[in-house]
C-alpha cells in the first residue's frame, strides 16, 4: 500500500491547478503531494501523464439484487476500475428495491466480495419507491446508506415528500431527487421540438424540469433539508437553481455525461441506445449546462450508468427501455469537453471527484495529504474508437459505440492498491 508516483502531471481540483510532481502514498493514504521530483524510491513512473483523484460516480445502477444478467458487482466493478471510477455510489432501483437495512446489508456484502472499487450505497426514500411511506432512514443510515432517492420516480405527493425531507433533515441525511414534473413527462421519450415532431416520438417540454425543480426548491426552503438534484439538463432550470443556491439553501445538482456530450439529434433514426431519462436535450441546453458546470452552478458529473440488455433495447423507440452504460466511457467522454477547450482538468475533476465526495461526506476524491489514495493515471491523448463489445459491463448499451474518443485510463488505485493497469491491464 506504499507507492511513490513520480513524474506526474498532478490534477488537484481542490486548489484548481495542475502541477508536475510526485505523490507519496503510505498505508493507503496520500502522505504527500510535492512539486518536482523526489530523489528516492519512485515506484510508479507516470511518464508525464495525468494523475488525478479517482472518480466518485453518483447514481450507478448495479443490477444486484435482481437482474444479475444485466450487471453484477463483479462486472460493474471491473468496468469502474477500467474507467477510473474508484467509488460507485449505487442506486437503489434494484429488484427488490434497497429500502430496508436487511437488503442493504445483503447488497453491501455482495459488493465487498466482488467489486475491486469502493461502493457507497444509496437507499430508497420511500418503501418500494412508491412515493407513499418513508423508509427507515435512520436504520439505513446506520447500515451505510450515503443518500436517499427514489431514482427516476418523482414523489408526486407533495405532503409525503415534505415529510420525508423534514425527517431526513433531522438526521442530516441527503435526499437526491429526479426533477421532472410527472404529469407532463408521462410517456415521453424525447424533448419536444422540431426533431421529436418530425420523428413522431412522444415528447416532454423542457419546462417540466424547471417546474419540478421549483416545487422542490420551495420544499427545501420550507424544510431545510439537504438536497441534491440528480440531473439538471436544461437552460431554463439554471436560473432557479442559481437563486436557490444564492439564498443559502443546502442544495446541489448533478448532470449526466450524456447530457453534456450528446444532444437530441443523436437519436437520429430511432437509435434506442440514445434513449435516456430525462431525454437528450437541444444543443443550446447542452452548451448552457456545460457553462453551468464550469461556473460551479452544477456541482457533479456522473455516468448515470444504467445497464439494459439487448431485448429491452431492440424495440420501437417509445417502448424501449431507457438508460445507457457509462462507467468506462465517463472519463473519455468528459475529456471531449477538455479537448474542446470547454472545461479544464481541475474543473472536470472538481465535478467528477471532489464535489460528489464532499456532498456525500466521503473523505476520498481529493488530491491532498491525508485523503485515501484513490488515484487514476490517464493519458489524455490516447485516441481510440470505442467498440461496445470490449466493454467490461455485462450490458453493452452505450451510445458511444463506434465513436472516436481521446483519453484512456492506464492505472487505477483504490486505497493505494492497484486495481487496474500494469499487469492486469
Amino acid at each position: 500500500m506504499n507507492e511513490v508516483f513520480g513524474n506526474a502531471k498532478i490534477v488537484d481540483p481542490g486548489q484548481g491547478r495542475v502541477i508536475t510532481g510526485t505523490v507519496v502514498v503510505r498505508d493507503g493514504v496520500i502522505a504527500d503531494v510535492v512539486e518536482g521530483a523526489l530523489d528516492n524510491g519512485v515506484t510508479v513512473d507516470c511518464g508525464g501523464h495525468y494523475l488525478a483523484p479517482g472518480i466518485v460516480d453518483i447514481g450507478v445502477k448495479v443490477c444486484e439484487p435482481g437482474e444479475r444478467h444485466k450487471e453484477s458487482f463483479g462486472s460493474a466493478g471491473a468496468a469502474a476500475a477500467a474507467g477510473g471510477v474508484t467509488t460507485m455510489v449505487t442506486r437503489p432501483d434494484t429488484t427488490p428495491d434497497i429500502d430496508t437495512p436487511e437488503v442493504l446489508e445483503f447488497q453491501t456484502r455482495r459488493a465487498t466480495e466482488a467489486s475491486p472499487v469502493r461502493i457507497a450505497p444509496m437507499a430508497a426514500l420511500t418503501k418500494g419507491r412508491e412515493g407513499r411511506e418513508m423508509v427507515e432512514i435512520g436504520f439505513l443510515q446506520d447500515a451505510g446508506a450515503v443518500a436517499f432517492t427514489d431514482c427516476d420516480r418523482v414523489v408526486e405527493n407533495t405532503k409525503v415528500f415534505s415529510r420525508c425531507l423534514t425527517y431526513a433533515r433531522s438526521l442530516g441525511a441527503l435526499v437526491m431527487a429526479h426533477v421532472q414534473e410527472p404529469g407532463l413527462s408521462t410517456g415521453a421519450a424525447a424533448t419536444s421540438g422540431k426533431f421529436a415532431s418530425l420523428r413522431g416520438i412522444p415528447a416532454v417540454t423542457p419546462m417540466a424540469e424547471r417546474m419540478a425543480l421549483d416545487r422542490d426548491i420551495a420544499l427545501i426552503e420550507m424544510t431545510g433539508a439537504r438536497y441534491h438534484a440528480d440531473q439538471i439538463t436544461t437552460a431554463r432550470a439554471l436560473p432557479a437553481l442559481e437563486r436557490a443556491k444564492n439564498n443559502g439553501l443546502d442544495m446541489t445538482a448533478g448532470v449526466s455525461i450524456h447530457h453534456l456530450t450528446l444532444n437530441e439529434l443523436d437519436v437520429a433514426d430511432y437509435r434506442t441506445f440514445f434513449k435516456v431519462k430525462p431525454p437528450l436535450r437541444s444543443e443550446d441546453d447542452r452548451i448552457a449546462v456545460i457553462e453551468a458546470v464550469k461556473s460551479g452552478l452544477i456541482d457533479c458529473i456522473s455516468s448515470m450508468h444504467t445497464p439494459q440488455d439487448e431485448e429491452s433495447k431492440r424495440l420501437p423507440f417509445e417502448v424501449a427501455a431507457s438508460g445507457a452504460v457509462g462507467l468506462e466511457t465517463l472519463l473519455p467522454a468528459a475529456l471531449r469537453l477538455f479537448h474542446a477547450g470547454q472545461l479544464d482538468l481541475p474543473t472536470l475533476f472538481r465535478a467528477l471527484s471532489l464535489n460528489p465526495a464532499k456532498r456525500l461526506g466521503l473523505p476520498q476524491g481529493r488530491m491532498e495529504k491525508g485523503a485515501p489514495a484513490d488515484l487514476i493515471l490517464f493519458n489524455a491523448n490516447t485516441p481510440f474508437v470505442l467498440n461496445r463489445e470490449t466493454l467490461r459491463s455485462k450490458s453493452k448499451n452505450t451510445p458511444f459505440d463506434g465513436a472516436r474518443m481521446q483519453g484512456r485510463v492506464t492505472g487505477t488505485w483504490v486505497g493505494g492498491r492497484r486495481v487496474f493497469g500494469g499487469d492486469n491491464a
Partner: protein, 316 residues
C-alpha cells in the same frame, strides 16, 4: 428509372426525382385500373406479406389489391391476433417471416420508428404503411397524385392541412412531400393538436380556419384521431366542429376552384360537413382512394425493380 430504393420507409429519404418517378408510373397504373382486365405480371412469382399491427381495412385492402393486380402472391397477416400477443418481439416476428423468403413486407405499426427497426433486420424490401405518428408515405404519394391530376401541377400551390396534426402521420409525410416539391404549406388546427417546432419545418401555422384557408388551392382535412388521444386535447367534438370543421362557409375563403381532400375514414360532422365531402365539384375524396391503389402499385413495382437491379448478395 431513377430510383435505387431499397425500402420505402418515409418521404424524408426520397429525392424529388423519386417522387416524380413514382407518380409518373402511377399515372399509367391508373389507366390500367380503369380497364376491364386489370392485370400485369410485374410482380409475378414474388411474395408480398401485409403485416398490420394496427387495425386497418382500407389501407390493407388497397395494398392487397395493388399486389394482386401486379401478379404477386399476397398474404395478409393480422398481427394483432398473432403471436405478438403471446409476447414475441417485433424483431423475432420479423426474423420468422424473413425465413419464409418474402420479397416485400408491407408493415403498419402503432409505434413511430418500428418499421425502420424491422427493415434493419430483414433482407427483403419493406414498405411503410404507417408507423405511429411518424410517416405514411404512400398516403402522401397518393395525395400528391390526386393533386397533380386535379391541378395539373405539383408545385407552387398553396395547400392547407387542417385539424389533428399532432397525431397524424399523414400530415408529417404530406408536409415533407409538398415541401420537397416546392409548395406553400399551411397548417391549421387548435394549438393543443399542433406539435411543437412546426414553424421550423418551413410551413405557416394558423389557429383560425378562415384566416388559414384564405386563397388556398387545396384543403386537406385530417381525421380527428380519437383513439390516439390520452387526455383532453379539445373540449368537445361539437366545439371542434364549430371552430375547425370544414363547411361551405369556411371553404368560401379558399380559391373558388379549391379541391377538398380527406385521407379517410371520415368523421362526418366532426371535421367535415357531409355535404362538402359529397360535393363532386369540390371533393376528390373518392379519387384519392382510386389513386391509392395506383400509387401503391407503382411504389411496389419500383421497389422490386431496384431490388432486381442489385447484384446477388449485396442486398442491405
Amino acid at each position: 428509372m431513377t430510383t435505387r430504393l431499397q425500402h420505402l420507409l418515409g418521404i424524408e429519404s426520397l429525392h424529388p426525382n423519386d417522387i416524380t418517378a413514382i407518380l409518373d408510373l402511377a399515372d399509367s397504373y391508373v389507366d390500367l385500373n380503369r380497364r376491364q382486365v386489370k392485370h400485369t405480371d410485374a410482380l409475378a412469382g414474388l411474395t408480398q406479406i401485409n403485416m398490420f399491427f394496427e387495425n386497418s381495412t382500407r389501407t390493407q385492402a388497397s395494398f392487397e389489391l395493388a399486389g394482386k393486380r401486379l401478379g404477386a402472391d399476397v398474404m395478409n397477416m393480422a398481427m394483432q391476433t398473432s403471436s405478438v400477443k403471446k409476447g414475441e418481439t417485433l424483431i423475432d416476428t420479423a426474423l420468422t417471416l424473413n425465413a419464409m423468403h418474402p420479397d416485400l413486407l408491407v408493415v403498419r405499426h402503432p409505434h413511430s420508428g418500428a418499421v425502420d427497426l424491422l427493415a434493419q433486420k430483414v433482407n427483403c424490401a419493406v414498405l411503410n404503411a404507417g408507423d405511429g405518428k411518424h410517416e405514411h408515405p404512400t398516403q402522401a404519394l397518393l395525395d400528391a397524385l390526386t393533386i397533380r391530376r386535379a391541378k395539373g401541377r405539383l408545385h407552387r400551390l398553396s395547400i392547407a392541412i387542417c385539424g389533428d396534426i399532432a397525431h397524424s402521420r399523414v400530415a408529417r409525410s404530406n408536409i415533407l412531400l409538398l415541401g420537397k416539391m416546392e409548395n406553400r404549406v399551411r397548417l391549421i388546427g387548435p394549438p393543443t393538436l399542433m406539435p411543437s417546432g412546426m414553424s421550423e419545418f418551413g410551413v405557416e401555422v394558423f389557429e383560425d380556419m378562415a384566416e388559414g384557408l384564405q386563397d388556398v388551392d387545396v384543403v386537406m382535412m385530417l381525421r380527428l384521431q380519437r383513439e390516439r388521444m390520452d387526455g383532453g386535447f379539445i373540449p368537445s367534438e361539437r366545439e371542434y366542429y364549430h371552430r375547425y370543421g370544414l363547411n361551405a362557409e369556411k371553404l368560401a375563403h379558399a380559391k373558388p376552384d379549391a379541391i377538398v381532400m380527406h385521407p379517410g375514414p371520415m368523421n362526418r360532422g366532426v371535421e367535415i360537413d357531409g355535404e362538402i365531402a359529397d360535393d363532386i365539384n369540390r371533393s376528390v375524396i373518392q379519387e384519392q382512394v382510386e389513386m391509392g391503389v395506383a400509387v401503391r402499385m407503382a411504389a411496389m413495382d419500383l421497389l422490386m425493380q431496384s431490388r432486381r437491379a442489385q447484384p446477388e448478395g449485396v442486398m442491405v
